[in-house]
């Protein structure tokens, strides 16, 4: 149940090789340096989408991840730009802060199910945007700009990582950082889903009453899962702020929250690695359709509807071997 099969290990190694060696080589060969920014965005959006996927796993449709990404982005930006704290400390703090906020929000709203929960989460992004506009610490509509790049890390006087601004290629550094975090996120997600907590989540997704009758504290598990989900959102957001060196109230909008959800649908709710593929496809799909001009949105929407109609279990149900098969059986 917990061990990886050799086939999965090979797939995972190929994946690691591709993102850490293959992509940088391909980019330097073709000279398309702009792809670093695109792929970095995909990686950090995939981190936030992983959180949304997890709330799906307890049977809740979460269209509010943008709220927690925005919270994470602001917490990190304020800590780094205003308080002068290292980015590396601000990153986990941003995640934990987003998780704490989600506990407060989750306590009343996680009792709701189905479309009612979805509707409440839909307004969360707007609430956080408006809060950011109103609060003095977030600088209102001007946002927080010129956020310093991440500094170096030294342990016992030994420099492990040089400051990002001293590096020749900041884009590559951010790309590697985002990919490492993404891989860690999905490994944690994989492990969680295949541990007992995942089994409990599945029982709640299928029948909450029955789950509580066998002694599972469903309210507690829901909060834990929502907090972990929002932690991922906060981390993704903080990373975004650091890469773009700025955060505005509009950095994450309702549309982004919807996209996080779509990433999960598109990749497949039954597969841990679904949201990662979904994010990549959605992000590039949108860009590729750019040439269609004013028909971009139309074609894009029709394609999405077709995918959801004919591949209700997501793109991964087309199955490239067994790689990435996550939840379920």
């Amino acid at each position: 149940m917990n061990g990886l099969t050799s086939k999965q290990l090979i797939g995972f190694s190929i994946f690691l090789l591709a993102i850490f060696v293959g992509v940088p080589m391909a980019i330097s060969a073709t000279g398309r340096w702009d792809f670093y920014f695109t792929l970095t965005s995909v990686a950090l959006l995939a981190i936030a989408s992983a959180g949304v996927w997890l709330t799906f796993y307890i049977g809740r449709i979460n269209i509010g991840q943008g709220a927690f990404a925005l919270i994470g982005a602001y917490v990190s930006a304020i800590l780094v730009a205003k308080a002068g704290i290292s980015f590396w400390i601000s990153l986990p703090v941003a995640g934990i802060f987003a998780a704490l906020v989600s506990v407060l929000i989750g306590l009343p709203i996680l009792r709701l199910r189905g479309v009612y929960f979805a509707m409440i989460t839909l307004v969360l992004t707007q609430v956080v945007t408006l809060t950011a506009l109103a609060l003095p610490i977030t600088n209102g509509a001007k946002g927080i700009t010129s956020i310093p790049l991440p500094g170096g890390i030294s342990l016992f006087g030994l420099q492990i990582l040089p400051p990002f601004d001293s590096m020749a290629d900041t884009k590559l550094a951010f790309y590697i950082l985002a990919c490492i975090l993404m891989v860690l996120t999905y490994l944690a997600l994989w492990r969680l889903v295949h541990s007992r907590l995942g089994h409990i989540c599945r029982s709640m997704q299928q029948n909450e009453e029955l789950a509580s009758s066998i002694g599972i504290n469903i309210a507690y598990i829901r909060i834990i899962i929502f907090a972990i989900s929002s932690f991922f959102g906060g981390i993704g957001g903080a990373l975004f702020g650091s890469i773009s060196q700025s955060v505005y109230p509009s950095s994450f909008q309702v549309q982004d929250s919807v996209n996080f959800m779509l990433n999960c649908f598109l990749g497949g709710l039954g597969y841990v690695f679904g949201p990662m593929l979904g994010t990549l496809t959605l992000y590039f799909g949108w860009d590729l359709l750019f040439t269609l001009g004013k028909y971009q949105l139309l074609v894009y929407s029709v394609l999405l509807i077709l995918v959801i109609r004919f591949l209700p279990n997501g793109l991964l149900s087309l199955r490239l071997g067994n790689i990435g098969k996550g939840g379920g059986k």
Partner: protein
């Protein structure tokens, strides 16, 4: 014999409707007690009140002398009072074995983080869950279909699975919700024997809500009869069979017949 479960003046009102009115009775340890009554008598409501799936309006339920009414269902389960559901309430996309494994939540020694990290306690738990699941499935006669999806099971097996899920929590009292509903006499007999063996072999006290009269008369040590939310009789099956109030509740009084 001291009472394991005590129902004390339990009342439930929904707005102006009194679904259960001042019902009291005791369940002794190792007893099989049935609550029966015509449709709408308040059986299901009483069942939910005892398992804390509903809050009481007044009165209380005591288990081993301690109040268990108005707690959260999972807390009541932790104390040892566990309910089953009718057969549509299952973990649809889990196999029989997986359902019984997840239901052993209360037997877990490791923390959730422990399972995530794969500590020694957690690994020992996982092994114990598997072993106990196999034992339970064999006991319930489900070992042949351990790896079937729950949603593919026929009705009789679903009932057994529901009871197996309940048993996996190591309950002291198992509350069964209409365990014989919709069964033919042969299936009913098999389930009656199964429920009896749960009591005899595992020492689980059983309280069931049912309206299949022959089965109830066969299986119960004692019976409580409800009508319009009130307890109208309590006693052994033979006492209940000869109780005029009960006969009246089920068949209607002579006056009613004239009225029709």
């Amino acid at each position: 014999m001291s009472a394991l479960l005590q129902v004390r003046g339990v009342t439930k009102k929904f707005g102006g409707l009194t679904a259960v009115n001042d019902v009291s009775f005791d369940v002794a340890e190792n007893e099989i007690l049935s609550v029966i009554g015509p449709n709408g008598a308040g059986k299901s409501t009483l069942f939910k009140l005892i398992s804390s799936f509903l809050r009481t309006t007044s009165g209380e339920v005591l288990f081993q002398g301690k109040r268990i009414s108005d707690l959260k269902p999972h807390v009541v389960a932790r104390r040892g009072v566990v309910r089953t559901f009718q057969e549509t309430t299952i973990f649809k996309s889990m196999t029989v074995r997986e359902s019984v494994i997840v239901a052993q939540h209360l037997r877990a020694k490791a923390s959730l983080a422990g399972y995530f990290l794969g500590t020694a306690t957690a690994r020992a738990d996982i092994e114990a869950f598997g072993r106990y699941a196999d034992e339970l499935l064999e006991f319930m006669g489900l070992d042949g279909i351990a790896n079937e999806l729950a949603s593919n099971l026929p009705q009789g097996h679903l009932r057994a699975l529901g009871i197996a899920i309940g048993l996996a929590t190591d309950p002291k009292v198992l509350l069964l919700d209409e365990p014989f509903a919709g069964m033919n006499p042969e299936e009913t007999m098999r389930t009656v024997n199964l429920v009896r063996s749960v009591r005899d072999a595992r020492g689980v006290t059983i309280l069931l809500v049912e309206h299949d009269m022959p089965a109830v008369m066969n299986i119960s040590d004692r019976i409580v009869v409800l009508n319009f939310g009130e307890k109208i009789a309590e006693g052994t099956p033979s006492e209940i069979q000869n109780n005029e109030k009960v006969i009246e509740a089920y068949l209607g009084s002579a006056d009613d017949e004239v009225g029709i």
